[in-house]
């Protein structure tokens, strides 16, 4: 054995460590792969050795190789071996490797469960920490289920280092094992008020992550978060909370109203840019949620915009970027405020940073009728300047987006838009040809008035060769021809010179275009042909008609030869048709009617989702088989293949040429009727265009006449500029006209008709469009179903966490506790489900359903809960005093509060929501009852009870914002040092209860400060006449009381002892001893620690709320004796001072007026203690009244000591 050891160390001398490996790789640049594979072989050898140090070294090297992209999952088992090493050094290496390469698919991962559980409960906090860290990276549903309970216990660990890690990892556990959320949630909520800022921040972090996914379940936490927000000074926490509120406000607009004020204050006060930015963001979210009817919030908007402007103008590119980002959110609801900063946005368009330019582009959505042309013009110049194609493409899409947004709302002149689109076709190498094409089609179809113009432009496009020239290479842009050909064909009646266009479309060069475009060409050639035929026949020009036919017969064969099936098929079909027509023509039969009948019928745009929204007729089961399916083998090779090129079907949809005019009219009428009655039909808003059209006397408004006889040369001067100029003139004229009308109106008004008293400024609505345009809305099928679920992803992992958290826990929901294996397998059937991944994934959903059912049952409870929030929300902005209640773990915080005008104390259930309402609503008495009832429950359960009087109390008058000046309270702990030596440290706290008038409970926290294991601890005191320790029955006064636990190194725990007290008017001390056995490697020793247990008079007091009227009666009754003290040299603020008295001496504030407060408390034997605390300059005077003078004087003495330290 010894030999083996020696051999092991010798071997190791020659092993490479991580540094050697790195160096080796760097030295083998040329044959890195070879070198590494050689190293991996060595590592495999090392892993086979017994020495754990060698293994750990090997695993460490593997971790490095993993970073370089090598799969190390083959070593998973060895990694687990290293994880289970007893030494932290090796354990850490193992966990690191595991966190890098373990995942749900790693099969050996289930072997780790017990090891991890052992590490989690390890006495060394770093073993626990490293296990938590590792687990956070590779937690699986199984691990989560098995370890949830252990981790939950760690959430109350004495070390904040462990607590914060345990809290954070809970989020991962929830994700993998959603059932754990409800049992763990109360504790998580508790951690929001953990004394350690790190733990608090972790809890906020977790709840924010949870709430971000399912915000509605966390609305009830809003009051708590609100309190944190007004009290916390940690910017990280604040940012998280503020972000969370941003997610909550859309669900509860009233919350937004409450938030505006504190957020505005933060915006004004904070110096941290990140916090400022998040505040602005949330204010924006709030404003969006209340977007309508909040005129008084324009100030907030102004503030936001103004702050954002500062960000955008900052030289820091990051701030600039974020400023623009936030600005774009404001844009959605308050475009006007953003437009005021158009200069800034346009300036950012010139920024050298592409991200910033893109962000600035976003802001351009905020265009209006007024500035659209101007902005697009500016963008067009950028398009010309732009160097990279990506940015240019981005510009192009932006131009199209801003023009087409909300149904072309901002376009007043569609001719201008068409010419912009035509100009954009000059862009070479753009990927967005199809986008331009789609726009052309859309506009031409939906804006009837523009068709003539569009057709002329399109025919020009078809004519000009530049698009066809090198089409296949410059891919994208030739897509435009698709639209051009279709528009010219479909609306051929508007063509000036159809024959010329026809010839252009039949040029041999066309065959170089992509197949789908050629197909459209072929189809539309016939449409053109039909139009020409009709024209010629009407003119009785038979020879010309025959010429055209001849042209087709000659040219069509070039398409028949096409390699593209679609083109070929259409071409040959049409060729036959034309040949047939030719025959008829030869016989002098008029054919035009029939040929055009092929393309008769009106075209209606259909909404993209129309098909999806067709309701399923009753009695039709889409999932039922029509024929029973055949066996799999047959259908295998018959998978539907794409036979034809993927095309946009939209424009080639079959029409119904057989429907005659009457039928069409009838249908149209019927449809209009239906649409009017159909709530889901998106009716075209009475747009100005429409009004314009309907209004009588439209003819008077000058419509721009464009001389279309002037041939439009696309590559020439940008035509759109002309429109800009024309548009300006037109508007000017309009304005003049309007002024005239206004004058008239005013005269009319003077005569007494006050119908319209609105003042006309030039707003968007006043700019009348140049064309008589009718933007046809897209059609929807009859009875279209509203489909909100369109965008819900069924695979969303966060859906499982959509769990109601307010319901009480059912027994079945308890977390699985560590049990012996046999018991576990027999008891939980889930264990057997493990391999069935599918089943697993369904589980949460089932659970969810169950919750839903329960929800209904517990409606009553729910309503009550809702009331709390409602109440909180319904109130005016609170004057909540910020207070950090930093408490020891395991304490219940009972917050109470006083209102002055409607005096009443109220205790709120600490478990439910520890939030403090500072409202004085008379409607609360009823609810109070409920709460009192509820309160009893958790109180009894509580191990250590401590009531903390309100650290914050309310000034009599409604305070607004004044609250911010009060600094947060320093952390306070009521635990006092009892005794300490090198082994152990004891702190204690004494608590009484009103129910037991002669008993107090002493909670002693024992902390092991040594490396030894402490056991057999026993506590004994020398009883006095007045006070004695309650010992187990049958034991004598000299026996000690055993401490019910043992203490591993570094661990602390709390033990409770009950004392019986006779008289409580005097303080007293009890001598005592703690004996224990300390065991370490060297052996075990008996140790003793003496202490003096001090029962102060304060420790007999119990925080009790008091109504101010009862308080007044008590003082008036006259059976209280009085005493007073005065302490000088106090610099602490009155607020903190009161909090201190409340905390350390267990008083509650009855009322507070300026720097004067009355306080109340009660002893366990029912003595009333009333105080009047007055703060003067640097001094505090306390006048006390109590039913027992001795008690009072002792209390005041103790208080004097406390105050002296202030």
């Amino acid at each position: 054995m010894a030999l083996k050891m020696v051999k092991g160390s010798i071997d190791r001398m020659f092993d490479k460590n991580l540094q050697d490996l790195v160096r080796g790789i760097r030295n083998h640049k040329e044959d890195e792969a070879k070198y590494i594979s050689q190293c991996i072989d060595e590592i495999k050898q090392e892993l086979k050795q017994d020495n754990i140090a060698v293994k750990a070294n090997a695993v460490c090297k593997l971790t490095y190789l993993q970073m370089l992209g090598y799969d190390i999952s083959w070593a998973a088992f060895n990694i687990i071996e290293v994880m289970s090493a007893s030494k932290f050094t090796f354990k850490r290496i193992g966990y690191l490797a595991a966190s890098q390469c373990f995942h749900e698919g790693t099969d050996v991962i289930m072997l780790t469960t017990n090891q991890i559980r052992k590490d989690l409960s390890s006495p060394s906090q770093y073993d626990t920490g490293v296990a938590l860290t590792g687990l956070s990276c590779f937690v699986t549903p199984d691990l989560a289920r098995d370890l949830a309970n252990d981790i939950m216990t760690l959430m109350s660990h004495t070390k904040p280092y462990i607590r914060k890690k345990a809290v954070l990892i809970m989020y991962k556990v929830f994700l993998k094992y959603p059932e754990s959320l409800r049992p763990a949630f109360p504790r998580l909520k508790e951690k929001l008020e953990d004394p350690d800022p790190g733990v608090q921040s972790a809890a906020v972090n977790v709840i924010c992550e949870l709430a971000r996914r399912n915000p509605k379940n966390y609305l009830s936490l809003a009051p708590l978060f609100f309190k944190l927000m007004t009290s916390s000074t940690n910017n990280w926490v604040l940012i998280k909370i503020i972000k969370l509120f941003g997610a909550l406000t859309p669900l509860e607009p009233r919350l937004g109203k409450k938030l505006i004020e504190p957020l505005t204050n933060l915006i004004h006060s904070t110096s941290a840019m990140s916090l400022l930015y998040e505040c602005v963001n949330t204010v924006i979210a709030v404003l969006i949620s209340l977007s309508s009817g909040m005129p008084n919030h324009s100030a907030s908007i102004q503030l936001c915009v103004q702050k954002l402007r500062i960000l955008i103008e900052d030289s820091d590119q990051n701030l600039k970027y974020l400023g623009l980002l936030a600005m774009s959110k404001i844009l959605r609801t308050h475009p006007k405020s953003v437009q005021a900063h158009k200069d800034l946005v346009l300036q950012c368009l010139d920024d050298k940073d592409e991200s910033i330019r893109l962000r600035a582009l976003d802001l351009l959505y905020g265009v209006s009728k007024k500035n659209l042309m101007e902005i697009v013009k500016k963008l067009m110049t950028h398009v010309d300047k732009a160097e990279g194609t990506t940015y240019r493409d981005e510009l192009l899409t932006k131009i199209i987006d801003i023009c087409s947004q909300s149904n072309y709302q901002h376009i007043t002149n569609f001719e201008w838009y068409i010419s912009i689109l035509v100009e954009l076709t000059r862009l070479e190498g753009t990927r967005h040809g199809h986008l331009i094409a789609a726009q052309m089609l859309d506009v031409a179809i939906r804006v009837k008035a523009i068709r003539r113009f569009a057709v002329s432009q399109m025919s020009a496009l078809l004519d000009s060769a530049h698009l066809v020239a090198s089409s296949p290479q410059r891919s994208g842009i030739c897509e435009v021809l698709y639209a051009a050909a279709w528009i010219c064909g479909e609306f051929s009646e508007h063509l000036q010179e159809p024959q010329q266009t026809l010839e252009a479309m039949l040029r041999p060069k066309v065959t170089t275009l992509p197949g789908h475009i050629q197909a459209v060409y072929v189809q539309n050639v016939v449409k053109l042909y039909a139009a020409i035929l009709q024209q010629k026949e009407q003119a009785a020009d038979t020879s010309a008609a025959q010429e055209v036919t001849q042209l087709l017969v000659e040219r069509l064969p070039q398409f028949v030869q096409s390699a593209d099936l679609e083109v070929q098929e259409r071409a040959s079909c049409i060729l036959q048709l034309v040949k047939h027509v030719q025959k008829l023509q030869a016989k002098d039969v008029p054919v035009a009617e029939e040929v055009s009948a092929l393309f008769a019928g009106e075209l209606n745009p259909v909404a993209p989702k129309a098909q999806k929204k067709v309701p399923v007729p009753e009695g039709l089961d889409l999932d039922a088989w029509i024929n029973e399916p055949l066996s799999d083998s047959e259908s295998e090779d018959e998978k539907p293949k794409a036979m034809f090129q993927d095309e946009e079907q939209r424009h080639t949809k079959p029409r119904a040429p057989e429907a005659d005019e009457q039928e069409l009219a009838r249908r149209r009428e019927a449809r209009r009727q239906e649409q009017a009655n159909n709530p889901f039909y998106i009716k075209s808003s009475p747009s100005p265009q429409k009004r314009y059209q309907d209004a009588p006397g439209v003819e008077h408004i000058p419509v721009v006449q464009i001389d279309l006889s002037v041939p439009l040369k696309v590559p020439g001067m940008p035509l759109s500029d002309q429109y800009v100029k024309l548009e300006e003139e037109r508007r000017h004229r309009q304005r003049l006209e309007k002024d005239k009308r206004k004058k008239k109106k005013r005269e009319r008004e003077r005569r007494g008709t006050r119908r319209h008293s609105s003042l006309h400024t030039e707003s968007d609505e006043d700019i009348a469009p140049a064309q008589r345009v009718d933007i046809v809305t897209e059609e929807m099928p009859e009875n279209a179903l509203p489909s909100d679920e369109d965008d819900k992803d069924p695979n969303d992992p966060y859906r499982a966490l959509d769990i109601d958290l307010d319901k009480p826990l059912a027994d079945s929901e308890k977390l699985p506790v560590q049990k012996h294996r046999n018991a576990e397998t027999s008891k939980s059937p889930e264990k057997e489900d493990v391999p069935l991944v599918e089943k697993k994934s369904k589980k949460p959903k089932k659970k969810e359903k169950k919750h839903k059912e329960k929800e209904r049952e517990k409606k009553k409870k729910e309503v009550e809960k809702g009331e709390d929030l409602d109440f909180w929300l319904s109130t005016t902005p609170p004057a909540a005093t910020p207070a950090l209640e930093e408490l020891e773990v395991n304490t219940t915080v009972t917050v109470l509060k006083e209102g002055q005008e409607e005096p009443r104390g109220e205790e709120q259930d600490a478990e439910e929501d520890r939030e403090q309402d500072l409202e004085k609503k008379p409607s609360k008495h009823k609810k109070k009852k409920h709460k009192k009832d509820k309160e009893e429950r958790p109180k009894d359960k509580r191990k250590s009870k401590k009531k903390v009087p309100p650290a914050d109390e309310e000034a009599a008058e409604p305070v607004e914002n004044g609250t911010l000046e009060e600094e947060p309270l320093p952390p306070m702990s009521s635990y006092i040092l009892l005794a300490e030596n090198s082994y152990i440290k004891m702190t204690y706290d004494v608590q009484g209860s009103l129910q037991k008038d002669s008993q107090v409970t002493v909670s002693v926290v024992l902390e092991n400060q040594s490396d030894s294991f402490l056991k057999s601890m026993e506590l004994n005191v020398l009883d006095s006449l007045n006070a004695r320790l309650a010992r187990p029955e049958g034991s004598s006064v000299h026996d000690g009381v055993p401490v019910p636990f043992q203490l591993p190194p570094g661990i602390s725990n709390e033990a409770q002892f009950v004392f019986t007290i006779q008289s409580i008017v005097m303080a007293q001390k009890l001598k005592g001893t703690l004996s224990f056995i300390a065991k370490n490697d060297e052996g075990s020793t008996h140790e003793k620690l003496d202490f003096k247990l001090h029962f102060t008079c304060t420790s007999y007091l119990v925080t009790t709320p008091c109504y101010s009227d009862a308080f007044a009666k008590l003082l008036e009754s006259g059976d209280l004796s009085m005493s007073s003290i005065k302490v000088d040299g106090i610099s602490m603020s009155f607020h903190n001072l009161l909090a201190k008295i409340c905390f350390h001496h267990r008083f509650s504030v009855v009322e507070r007026v300026d720097s004067c407060a009355s306080m109340y408390s009660r002893s366990i034997q029912g003595h009333h203690v009333c105080l009047l605390v007055k703060k003067g300059e640097k001094s505090v005077s306390v006048d006390g009244k109590c039913s027992d003078p001795t008690l009072l004087s002792n209390l005041l003495e103790e208080m004097k000591e406390t105050l002296a330290t202030c």
Binding site: N17, Y64, G198, Q317, S355
Partner: protein
């Protein structure tokens, strides 16, 4: 949530890869490469946010990065994180590294990847920010180092393996052997000084430095680094032959450039927010 933390150098060599979401190794490498190409294109004086796109998670994710001397620190985060907050977090992380390694430079990350991971584990856990207070982070790391050290002294085997691990952050002698005689130099104000002490009698550190400058100069020539020519390595010393290169004579190798003092960012942008 933070999805991934990547640290790579100006040539795209990964120095730390930490994903909080499972990706196979090949995909991880691909993500590192793509991220590198995205980040490389950007000047130092433009904003530090990149909309993630196709890499991880889709449109909800952003890349937030900072460039320090020779290293890029890239965090891939979703919208629940504050952008400026993460920028500051990167700063905290680097400052912590600086404290732990004493004037941290790329070499420290190259040779002590495991330690960098341990430090990171105290800052971010499972994709969530664990601690932002640098003193607290450093305290925990030091406590763990002490624990590890105590285990090693207890351990009977004084293998060079573990004593040379370099904890607690006395810079290991790059030769891989812990130079006991230079241990006090840990407290020496001038780090460079004790490094240079090695140059005379012990050839090892000299070798290392040569090796370093050579690596840096070799890397651009690699075919796998198509973009490396775009950003020329600041000290591309001519590919030195076997002859030792005196480190004092040439420019100091890139990878020894102190991350914080040579940070490419202007001071104003290293501001901290939670102070």
């Amino acid at each position: 949530m933070i999805q991934a933390i990547l640290v790579f150098n100006n040539h795209g060599k990964p120095r730390l890869v930490r994903f909080y979401q499972r990706f196979p190794e090949e995909i991880q490498q691909q993500i590192v490469r793509e991220t590198f190409h995205l980040v490389l294109k950007r000047d130092d004086n433009i904003c530090n946010f990149l909309e993630g796109g196709s890499l991880i998670g889709g449109s909800d994710y952003k890349l937030i990065y900072r460039h320090y001397a020779t290293l890029y620190f890239v965090f891939c985060v979703d919208s629940s994180e504050s952008e400026l907050g993460i920028l500051d977090l990167i700063q905290v992380f680097v400052e912590t590294l600086d404290k732990c390694f004493e004037n941290v430079c790329e070499l420290d990350l190259i040779f002590h990847m495991d330690k960098v991971h341990y430090i990171l584990q105290e800052v971010v856990m499972g994709g969530m920010v664990l601690e932002t207070n640098m003193n607290e982070i450093v305290a925990q790391i030091e406590a763990q180092n002490r624990l590890e050290k105590s285990e090693i002294t207890v351990s009977l085997s004084h293998s060079r393996l573990y004593t040379s691990a370099g904890w607690p952050f006395s810079r290991t002698c790059p030769g891989g052997v812990r130079c006991e005689e230079h241990q006090p130099a840990r407290d020496a104000p001038e780090h460079q000084h004790w490094r240079s002490q090695h140059q005379g009698p012990q050839p090892v550190p000299v070798c290392l430095r040569v090796e370093d400058s050579r690596t840096e100069s070799l890397e651009p020539a690699e075919p796998s680094q198509p973009c490396s020519t775009v950003r020329s390595a600041p000290s591309r010393s001519p590919a030195s032959g076997p002859g030792p290169h005196c480190p004092g004579a040439g420019k100091s190798p890139v990878s020894t450039a102190s991350l914080l003092t040579c940070a490419a960012l202007p001071i104003s942008r290293t501001r901290r927010l939670w102070m």
